[in-house]
Symmetry: C2
Subunit: 330 residues, 2 copies
């Protein structure tokens, strides 16, 4: 294993030191692993908190900033943050209008965010939560009851963040967050496993001609192991899996997301095929993202997330955002 780290134990805190040094718009509590906007909570604005295991950067800490999250609490690599982090983040972003927890559907995350929400409520903070479970690959998995939360998390954070920025009340922010999740589906493919620093070797082995269809973002198994194929056929496989679960039509928001070890040129090759698939269904990629956004350390591969847009979601997607991982239009 060759990794750019100082020690296996300090990867997350060292990366948070780097995040703090690179982004003065963030206030980073390195010891307690909490990242909030340096500008502090805005009175009357709903606060948005997310979090989850590290190793998926820029998710979540890279999406803290204007128009998106108010705070993120990163856990250790592929490990849920603890309730204390979530409670501290919730209190830090409470501007009096309540706080929304955006939770990816993994058992540890769900339990810890539930506990944090209860304890925060006892302290007088109004807390709601939205569960993201967009991955159509498997119904239950190693770490999940129900579907896994993957790429749609970014869409929920962006669109709910834009809604919160307008000063909308908590129920409105909750509604739109749930709507984004309900209208989004994802499917991922691994060309290689990832290597966690602690394990020091790949989480599974794939032959030189093999891929894993429906991979999870921690390297957990997908639907099936299969033979490698060309980008066109791979994109079709992925899009058909999504289309079968949620018929695709009209204007869509599409992310072709790299898993961390795949170069951008290949992601654009995939995007071309995804766009062709959409056109064949009479749909369009009205909005898109191509790049590494919801990653799995150094895994090679990609995922596609499709969200069926409507006017409201499109407007909120287009609203200004200014975070380390996503910036435009302000």
């Amino acid at each position: 294993m060759k990794k750019l780290i100082n020690s296996v134990d300090s990867v997350v805190t060292d990366a948070l030191r780097g995040l703090a040094a690179a982004h003065p718009g963030l206030r980073v509590d390195v010891d307690n692993q909490i990242v909030v906007r340096a500008s502090g909570p805005r009175p009357g604005k709903v606060g948005l908190v997310s979090g989850g295991g590290s190793g998926h950067e820029p998710l979540h800490a890279g999406f803290v900033g204007y128009g998106m999250l108010d705070a993120a609490c990163p856990g250790e690599i592929f490990t849920s943050p603890v309730p204390d982090q979530m409670i501290a983040a919730t209190e830090a972003v409470n501007g009096g209008a309540g706080v929304l927890h955006i939770v990816k559907n993994y058992t540890g995350d769900v339990l810890n965010f539930e506990m944090a929400a209860e304890l925060s409520a006892e302290e007088g903070v109004e807390v709601a939560s939205v569960l993201v479970d967009d991955d159509v690959a498997v119904q239950d998995s190693l770490y999940t009851a129900g579907r896994r939360g993957t790429g749609a998390t970014l869409f929920v954070e962006k669109i709910a963040g834009a809604m919160a920025e307008t000063g909308a009340p908590l129920p409105e922010v909750v509604r739109v967050a749930g709507e984004v999740n309900a209208r989004s589906r994802s499917f991922g493919v691994a060309l290689s496993a990832c290597t966690t620093p602690a394990a020091g070797k790949p989480t599974f082995e794939l032959k030189d001609t093999e891929i894993e269809l429906g991979i999870g973002i921690h390297g957990e198994p997908g639907r099936t192991r299969s033979a490698m194929r060309g980008a066109r056929e791979l994109a079709r496989t992925v899009m058909e899996a999504i289309d079968e679960d949620m018929p695709i039509s009209g204007d869509t928001l599409v992310m072709v997301n790299g898993m961390g070890g795949t170069p951008l040129i290949e992601l654009y090759v995939v995007f071309a095929e995804v766009a062709d698939y959409l056109a064949s269904k009479g749909a369009t990629a009205a909005r898109s993202l191509v790049g590494n956004y919801v990653t799995s350390l150094d895994m090679q591969g990609f995922s596609v997330t499709v969200c069926l847009l409507n006017d409201e979601l499109t407007r909120l997607w287009d609203a200004p955002v200014e975070t380390p991982g996503l910036r435009w239009g302000r």
Copy 2:
């Protein structure tokens, strides 16, 4: 070799199809491999053209847009574009105020851009060029007389692009482009080789405990092969190489750039160490970029580029930019 491609021969054109589908603000001539702003040339504005071999995405085509390049001509993987592409791009962006060619110092690129500049001048277009040669690792190399052009290319494109956007005349844009190059230095480290689609196997072999110090962006050899070490020591090695060549002081613009296969969490670990090194010299990372910007396909590793800022460069760096690969503030 597992890559997300349709065929070895169509990688670049397929990726350009994807670029076109994802970014309606670009006009992409897929067959001739030319990418220009869809808005066309602005009368009276200096046009900026860059280009080079593909495999370094988002460089260069991902930096076409407001505040940066007017056009890019990507060659085949790690292969210079041909003069015809450069001439067509030059004509397409000519708004009557002249055109600047931003050329990375590789023999093929230099010769082809020279020929294109001569032929464009014969057609009545005023053309100037700036050579980027920021890599302190080696004096000459496999593809270079003199130093290689690497990360500073992005700085030159951004800052000269901002200057051009103000309506400044060609000599002013040339001056600031040259100044950015003169004040910038880079050094790269490979943890692994990259694999070009045509070769189908890594361009060189590194043992599990070995790294290449001073790697080029095509996998060409650097200064020395060395033992793997921790992020802190690696960052110090890189920063000392830069510092020896150009003493670092004051406010700097710093990029910790991933080579394509390295996850963001590790780049932030490196950035923390780079920031510490700067602080130890009484310097600061007043502006920074952390991510994959000037890549080498799937290579694992990173490079650091440091530019010594002054007020003018800082102001131009902060100016709005809106491209697929770099966006802020508009």
